[in-house]
Amino acid sequence: MSNNTLYVPTMAELMASGKTPEVLFWVGCAGSFDDRAKKITKAFVKILNNANINFAVLGTEESCTGDPAKRAGNEFLFQMQAMTNIEVLNAYEVKKVVTTCPHCFNTLKNEYPSLGGNYEVVHHTQFLNDLLKEGKLTVEGGTYKGKKITFHDPCYLGRANNVYEAPRLLIQKLEAELIEMKNCKQKGLCCGAGGSQMFKESEKGTKDINVERTEQALETKPEIIAAGCPFCNTMLTDGVKAKEKEDTVKVYDIAELISNANNL
């Protein structure tokens, strides 16, 4: 059922009509503004729509979680952002949050509770696995059957929160051939964007981190590099371009792979 209209209710709209969603989709700054990441956002919404999930977004009431400020050392700005967001989330009595960004995921899940924001927070790869288990989602194998896919572990999903299996289970559902990089899971190499590096030039060195990581991914001779983070996605896409492989190797988020496989 391919259709181009997305159904994206906001919390404000639902509240006005006296409804509460099961889950809040936290879109994040990248997912809202970055052209590449917006595609991930839309792919995820298509899956949610298709599975008839009762969700909502904050829309213009959403603001940066404060993650990049916190990693840069600006605790004031982080806590200002956090407390502002918590006021909004608590006002809507949000219980469960799903997000496509591991940085938002980590911050909301780990750093908001002691400031008064207590929610069940899941990464979209975990959420999609739950939908599979509940029978609300099926994944079609056809499109990616037998394709070589390697998965890059986002630091803030993997090492930071020990989520390694959820994205891999989804890739296996695509009937794709999952090939692990030499450095994967606990030993996964960072894409280079974490710790606010996304927003600054890197320090003097001999190489860019994203190129190093892309080379590790290319060693597996993949057709697709799968990611689960909008920042990793950007870094690896740039890395693939730097290695002039953009014609043969694509970088996709897991949500995009599922949305494509299901012809959404």
């Binding site: 209209t5 997305l6 879109v27 700054c29 997912g31 809202s32 503004f33 970055d34 917006k38 839309k42 977004v57 829309g59 213009t60 959403e62 603001s63 940066c64 404060g66 990049p68 400020a69 916190k70 990693r71 840069a72 050392g73 600006n74 605790e75 004031f76 700005l77 806590q79 200002m80 407390m83 502002t84 980590n106 780990n110 750093e111 400031l115 630091c155 090492r159 930071a160 929160n161 606990q186 030993k187 190499l189 960072c190 280079g192 974490g194 710790g195 606010s196 590096q197 927003f199 600054k200 030039e201 890197s202 320090e203 003097k204 060195g205 001999t206 190489k207 981190i209 190093e212 990581r213």
Partner: protein, 444 residues
């Protein structure tokens, strides 16, 4: 009477060796207590479990199988051979010889396994030496490993080789005496099994009783004195991990690695700012200096971070996993730990020299030891924390220094300042309007 002098001499050596060590341990504990308080006394069940698996069980060491297995030889050797040291101390003090030999078969088994372990320790230590000096594994040749740290690593290996060789030679001489049918032998009863040293004892086959006793006694003395010297060398070397790995894994962070601490002093101020009813002129409960944000020196760090620095044995697994280091940046997580310890020692020495007071030397950990360039090169990816075989957390120190730079000195890189201004003004790290946050919905 001869032996009485021996026993007294031994008691003096033992007392001196142990006392000097205790003196240094007290210094060590005092220095660690210079750190700020942090509660790591909760959840003792999980903490004991961590200690059992990671320190005692070497769980993270074996992630690199070659180094891991060799390390287990040395580690098990170290622990088990300590039973032998207990016997040596009793023999030394009371003029007995092989006092535990009444254990019979068990004693034979014990001595036999000590010998095999001693041999494995020598093998492992030789391989370690080759890895450092011939194969030249990259992580042992990073810039921070020049000079003392490099020599320190080798000295420890030489120490272990010599101690184990002395132990085996001592046993070999003993074995030769035991089985030599010397009429003058009344002291050396047949006891112990010598699967390794019996081969060495072939070298002694033509020696007379007197020479063999001299060899046995000299090795015995050098071995125990060597152990006491080594014990006291620990404080001055990177080798404290053999003791501190245990408290270090016990007190390590149990939270998810991505969870950074929320600074409480900031929480109070932000709450005040956001509360419309707050009285801006109200004085806070605790008068005095406002809290310093972040860390510029060792005394701004917490005691677990300082314990971390003493525990670090400079293996460099953190640095070899660090994405910044791998791509040629100045940052090395191991150097962060080494610098923290060096600065802490410097502060501690100042306290020793100045009757218990630290006299400001105009230096700080940040800038004089660790550069801003290192601090800003970190991607906060936690690879170093994950890699550390004893759960040291270099990232938490880097974060505290970033906090100091940003909140006390407003010294963030310009691009980060731009990013933070954007968050402040538009609620996003880029200059987009918050009102446009849902525009993607229409762009389908």
């Amino acid at each position: 009477m001869d032996h009485l002098i021996d026993n007294i001499l031994f008691a003096i050596v033992l007392f001196a060796g142990v006392s000097f060590f205790i003196l240094n341990v007290k210094k060590l504990v005092r220095n660690i207590k210079l750190g700020k308080s942090v509660n790591r006394y909760d959840n003792s069940k999980a903490r004991w479990k961590n200690m059992a698996l990671i320190a005692l069980g070497q769980q993270k060491m074996v992630r690199r199988p070659v180094a891991g297995i060799l390390h287990i030889f040395v580690y098990v050797g170290f622990i088990i051979i300590n039973i032998e040291v207990l016997e040596i101390i009793i023999d030394g003090l009371f003029n007995t010889h092989r006092v535990f030999s009444f254990l019979g078969t068990l004693y034979n088994f014990l001595i036999g396994s000590f010998e095999i372990l001693a041999f494995l320790v020598i093998v492992a230590v030789v391989v370690f030496w080759i890895r450092r000096n011939i194969v030249r594994l990259q992580r042992f040749w990073k810039p921070e490993m020049k000079g003392w740290p490099k020599n320190d690593g080798n000295i420890i290996l030489y120490f272990e080789m010599v101690l184990m060789t002395l132990f085996l030679t001592m046993n070999a001489a003993d074995y030769a005496i035991q089985h030599g049918h010397f009429t003058e032998n009344h002291h050396y009863a047949i006891a112990g099994a010598f699967p390794i040293s019996s081969y060495i004892s072939n070298l002694f086959s033509t020696m007379n009783y007197g020479s063999l006793v001299i060899i046995e006694r000299v090795c015995w003395w050098l071995h125990i004195v060597g152990i006491l010297v080594f014990l006291n060398y620990l404080y001055y070397s990177k080798h404290l991990h053999i003791l501190l790995a245990f408290p270090n894994t016990y007190f390590a962070n149990l939270e998810p690695k991505g969870k950074f601490t929320n600074v409480e002093a900031v929480t109070n101020e932000v709450k005040l700012m956001m509360d419309p009813d707050a009285d801006p002129f109200a004085t806070s409960e605790d008068e005095g200096e406002p809290e310093k944000f972040g860390a510029s020196d060792v005394t701004d760090l917490n005691w677990v971070q300082l314990l971390n620095s003493y525990t670090c044995t400079e293996c460099g697994r953190c640095t070899s996993e660090c994405p910044a280091n791998q791509t040629g940046k100045a940052l090395s997580p191991r150097k962060i730990m080494m610098d923290t310890r060096d600065r802490l020692e410097e502060v501690g020495n100042s306290i020793n020299k100045n009757n218990g007071e630290f006299v400001d030397d105009g230096k700080t950990l940040l800038n004089d030891y660790i550069s801003k360039e290192e601090i800003w090169a970190c991607t906060s990816c936690n690879a170093c924390v994950e890699a550390c075989p004893v759960n040291i957390d270099p990232l938490s120190i880097i974060t505290e220094m970033r906090r100091y730079l940003v909140m006390e000195e407003s010294a963030a890189p310009t691009e980060l300042n731009n990013m933070m201004t954007n968050i402040e003004n538009n609620g996003a790290p880029w200059p987009y309007n918050q009102m446009d946050r849902l525009n993607w919905k229409e762009e389908a």
